[in-house]
Subunit: 335 residues, 2 copies
């Protein structure tokens, strides 16, 4: 009886305890970046610390492309949109002569993509992501994600998430933080996979969004139809604006990787509160990619690097700070 009771006590006590006991960031090398995260979280959760953050105010925001998953050779949503163009082309004979569709359909390769502008992409999104219901759109994205493969890694895009960042997400949540995605990518696009791959529910995804229109279908059932009018471009100054619209509170931690994240990090840092600002720097051509100021995708300008140094933002070196980049990599021996 006593032994059985002891066993029950052991079981009951064992449930909540060990979450934070082991190293919460096993894929990180010990260094300034890892220490900055650990130090911030310990202080934020320590009532006796001057950097304590009340549970209701523990908010952390993450850019998506290039911060949580691969954005090279081109943003995943761009690949999706181009696949949509090809799929819808038979229904749009006018695209044979209309740009940017003409070029795309004639030369659907990396060269054509390289010359693409943000205006071209906006036009493609307006023509391929709208006029359908929100649930139709989710299904289309869902099916596409199941079939699409990254050209270099030959894996689904949803496997190309950074294991060290998944650990940061889990560690922050285990420490009472609410984790949000704040992305220039389409809100409806990212919501399809955010819960499954990041544990972030749809309501905690802030992204670029078009208007929707409430209508009734032929059976009188209500539907929301995606409209071509833009509601929010969640990039640069749009990030703090989007954070205000959807969260209404300032984050205490923010993670990005490009010039589009500058304002989000500034906003997080303002007001003299406990705070952590980090930027992922892609400097690992072997295991992932190496790019910076000259890249059209995920530009990390010299001005951003200077601002990071000046303001004490921590730059994460993928090469030096991360033991592994993807969950499917083996950890090297002895680790």
């Amino acid at each position: 009886m006593l032994l059985r009771l002891l066993f029950v006590v052991h079981l009951l006590l064992a449930i909540p305890a060990p979450v934070l006991a082991a190293d919460p960031l096993p894929s990180w090398n010990d260094g300034r970046a890892k220490q900055a995260i650990l130090k911030f979280v310990r202080a934020a959760t320590d009532q006796d610390s001057p950097h304590f953050v009340k549970p209701g105010e523990r908010i952390a925001t993450f850019d998506n492309d290039g911060t949580l998953w691969v954005e090279k050779p081109v943003y995943t949503q761009v690949v999706f949109a181009l696949d949509r163009v090809r799929e819808l082309a038979p229904r749009h004979p006018e695209w044979k002569t209309e740009q940017p569709f003409k070029t795309l359909l004639e030369a659907p390769n990396d060269a054509a993509l390289a010359d693409f502008s943000i205006q071209d992409f906006a036009k493609i999104v307006a023509d391929t992501h709208t006029g359908i219901t929100t649930s139709e759109f989710s299904q289309i994205v869902c099916h596409w994600l199941q079939a699409a493969q990254h050209p270099r890694f030959d894996r689904p895009y949803t496997e190309l998430v950074y294991q060290p960042m998944l650990e940061v997400l889990s560690y922050l949540r285990a420490s009472g933080f609410k984790t949000y995605i704040v992305t220039r990518g389409g809100q409806d696009f990212v919501r399809v996979f955010s819960d499954r791959i990041y544990g972030i529910p749809a309501g905690q995804v802030i992204g670029s969004a078009g208007k929707t229109a409430y209508e009734y279908d032929a059976d009188g059932q209500p539907i929301l139809v995606k409209q071509p009018e833009v509601f929010l471009i969640d990039d640069k100054q749009g990030k703090p604006e989007g954070i205000h619209l959807l969260i209404g509170q300032k984050p205490h931690a923010a993670f990005g990787n490009s010039t589009g994240d500058q304002q989000m990090l500034e906003w997080t840092q303002s007001g003299g509160r406990p705070q952590l600002m980090m930027l992922v720097h892609h400097d690992d051509a072997q295991r992932e990619y190496a790019y910076g100021p000259d890249s059209k995708v995920g530009t990390f300008s010299k001005a951003l690097m200077d601002e990071a140094r000046e303001r004490g933002w921590v730059v994460i070196s993928m090469k030096n700070d991360w033991k592994r980049i993807f969950a499917f990599e083996e950890l090297s021996a002895g680790e």
Copy 2:
């Protein structure tokens, strides 16, 4: 030793259990409305029920004015806006000749208010709620709420919340639901008090919203300045649109009290999922107010009542279903 162990086991086992043991809705009379809530929640949380709802999908939305707190004789935010007009009037000599300000400043009483249109109110909001930072606005609202008193109840507006609805909010949250406010009122206005009086954090408040602009103040600190351009009018079809924008999932339960909530309830009911739609009907002139199809504030039209009957939405009678309306009322003897 054995006794102490038993005691520890008892303590450990006792922690999560008793939350739902007692009547979760003590301010509700037993009747169709109370039973509908209990039945819905029991099924939604019972894995063996065909009406089980997965934890991540447990979302419930609540209108605010007239559903969670008093909206008579006029919406609280209208009173706030009019007080702002009077406060700002010395800085706006042009208001002496400009409508609707002229009428308001000359006859700031119920009679003047009665003739007010939604366009008038929009103009007042555009002129009094903008050109200041989001944090200045919060502080103004916060101070106003501390001082303002309801003309009939002589209490702060934040005390005029419906105790039975607070119990529904708590009961749903204890059952794993995420509770959201979906209000025509200003998002930034409601967020000032939502956490304190309803336990609903800012990020779970969906309301009408204007644009903001990310700027830097004289010290180079980032600020968000409220703009006069409207972003979202969260009323009627704007409610499902706002729900999609901020939550990205369909609610399983929705509570309203007026024609502005019709589309939110339709949207909640669509798609053949477990669902609960309820409408608060103000039929208690003695303890609160009685109004319906002819009221300009919180209109409960005949068409809405017909739709509720047809679709099986549950109409809550404040008079018959609620033992008490406000927390400050005594429960009648024997209860």
